[in-house]
Amino acid sequence: MAYHRFDAVIVGAGGAGLMAAIQMAGKANVAVVSKLYPPRSHTGAAQGGVAAALGNTEEDHWEWHMFDTVKGGDYLVDQDAAEILARESIDAVIELEHMGLPFNRTPEGKIDQRRFGGHTRNYGEGPVRRACYAADRTGHMIIQTLYQQGIKHNVQFFDEHFLLDVLFAADGACCGCVTWDLRTGEINVLHAKAVLIATGGFGRVYKITSNAMAGTGDGVAIPYRRGIPLMDMEFYQFHPTGLYKLGILLSEAARGEGGILRNNLGEAFAGRYAPLLKDLAPRDMVSRFIHQEVKEGRGIDGKDYVHLDLTHLPAELIDAKLPDVTDFARTYLGVEPKTEPVPVQPTAHYAMGGIPTDNDARVIGDEHATVIPGLYSAGESACVSVHGANRLGTNSLVDLIVFGRRAGKHMLEFVRTTGFSELPPSPDALPQAEIEAVMSQPRGENAAEIRERMQTLMMDNVSVVRDAAGLESARAETQELKRAYRHVGVSDRGKVFNTELMEALELGYMLDCAEAIIEGALSREESRGAHYRTDFQTRDDANWLAHTLVSKTSGGLQIRKKPVKITTFEPKERTY
């Protein structure tokens, strides 16, 4: 076992983790841990843009952005947090430009902006150009730029180190974490005053997903196992346009630039459901439109997909503004988007829920917002909540840079004024035992088989449309899979890059995430945002204008409610 001591440890080197690291670099002793190399983080897969009310191409105001975020989230958004998101995104985007991010430019040389789903002018009157972008690889440019800054500021990186545990002192304060050096197999104890969990999402619990294979919810599941609740886990976003069967994302920017969804009759169906915004309605809605078209027999060839039509767009526009996503269609489906429609279906994309935090990214342990000292989370792993029941396109990148930055600033103050808590005795005992259990199974269960069963059942029963019967059976089967998981084994007995063991541990994390999603979805007997119940088809503000907190207790899983903060916008029916 190796021991290290840092003021702060950041787990996850995506947008949120690196943004936080840069705030602290040179001012505190900080380490960034990633199970990948930092520029391989999934932030790099984000395509379309990052919203900020710069007003560079037409009138815009942060208040409109805040409203769209609240309405897009079906009023489950904490409005004080949404205000921070909309206000501070302006500064944060400018800061990215100052760091060197190569945004596309207007003829005057300012950051160019384009339309995106659910972003409107004057509180819902029509689409507005708010998404700042760099072709259709905005996330790639963000991760590259932040990694470059990390190098510039001499941030200490622990590349290819896997998170095994988060440590708590006797008084409940977080005091570090345990990681596993994939290259050597050595266990590391990182003693710290503060830990930021910025490990991203867990889309790999689903069969069809846009998420990287690394998106296994490691940093979300570990605190949950240690008794910290997870918030709003039932809200999982399905992006309407994943490549058929593969789930690879085709950016909403394709529709922002004029792309149209069509059914097997060639009909542009979105306008039937959302007369004003049509194809640019929020993602939860468009995914349901597709589900409905397919259900009513208007999927292409009677199957569960529709067409994304870009053929009417000028070829130069496609080349200039959508080069990567059209390349995906060519590479993986052999479809030329300039002349042929692209087969698409909803794909598991983004967790609105996660580790509950306050507006400074501090993790909170209950419905009274009691702070757990020293533990922070930001980005997709966290739930502030700025996305409520459904995240608007581009707001994930906004979340990363705004709340990653706030996390870094707050942690810097915290570590300057706080001492080290004492580590618990044998801090690595628990993860060592978990690894030993997997390594010692002579002929254990195959992790891949359990994983496939989980992914299929989550897709069938816990995706765009849900009901009690499907959720109950998903719950029962998940518990069965968890029992099987206790006997999971590996054939690779080595220490060096034992990725078979890594995948087995990741499966354990995903099963916990799946369990929490199902529990939240069963408890919430209403339809709101991405959570649509056929047995409770309407929103029920009287009973459910509240966040859910699911936690593991000695008596089993417990669900509690946490009130939503409403400061400015009273809940209204959500139409587009």
Binding site: G44, G100, P102, H140, A447, D492, K495, V496
Partner: protein
């Protein structure tokens, strides 16, 4: 599939193993590797993450060419495929090579914007033409396919390699950057651009279709202009 195996702990040193598996023609080579790992031989080891060609994890030699396993379909490579690790870096296990040298070379060219104080509360201005000037080299995903395809890199471990030059180019030709002379000085050294013999392996290997050799030539030209 023939896969070159290496396991430092079990005295398996660069032997080929054959695997017979069924694939859909549309499957990625990465899908085939996953099938082997998940259902035939759990010890097969490789890096992967995004599975659609943007994270840069799974560069490897596929039928002798550097490719991303997630960006090549089985139908393109045929029924018999040979998979080997990237050349020029030490193999750690199976298809995983030591990337330290790669990232060290990258860091040597100062791959970050060097610029004096920006305007307060506003972006720097940059014309669309100035922005377009370095667009191609912003696409790099640091996968190392180009650098490990370069014969110079195989024999000269001081050479910074194509990827580092691509990332230097991205800043040298950015109108906002003021560090060009510093980077050009670094690339004018023994280990810099003059080692390039315009072999074009890098350009062929790039999964992002970056015109790597052209970028290197542009850096050479900038050095000539500066010398004059």
């Amino acid at each position: 599939m023939r896969i070159k195996r290496f396991d430092p702990e079990n005295d398996v040193k660069g032997v080929f193993r054959d695997y017979d598996i069924e694939c859909d023609p549309n499957d990625r080579v990465l899908d085939a590797l996953n099938t082997i790992k998940w259902y035939h031989d759990g010890s097969l080891t490789y890096r992967r993450s995004c599975a659609h060609g943007i994270c840069g994890s799974d560069a490897m030699r596929i039928n002798g060419r550097n490719r991303l396993a997630c960006k090549v379909q089985v139908s393109e490579v045929g029924r018999k495929v040979t998979i080997e690790p990237l050349m020029g870096y030490e193999v750690i296990k199976d298809l995983i090579v030591d990337m330290d040298k790669f990232f060290d070379a990258y860091k040597r060219v100062k791959p970050y914007l060097i610029a004096s104080d920006p305007p307060a509360q506003a972006e720097r201005l940059q014309s669309p033409a100035d922005r377009a000037r370095y667009d191609d080299t912003t696409k790099c995903i640091l996968c190392a396919a180009c650098t490990t395809a370069c014969p110079i890199t195989w024999t000269n471990d001081q050479f910074v390699g194509p990827a580092a030059i691509v990332n230097a180019h991205r800043f040298i030709f950015d109108s906002r950057d003021e560090g060009a002379s510093d980077r050009l000085r670094i690339l004018n050294q023994q280990s810099g651009v003059w080692r390039c013999r315009t072999i074009f392996n890098c350009t062929d290997a790039c999964p992002r279709d970056i015109k790597v050799t052209q970028a290197i030539e542009e850096v050479k030209r900038a050095l000539m202009v500066e010398a004059l």
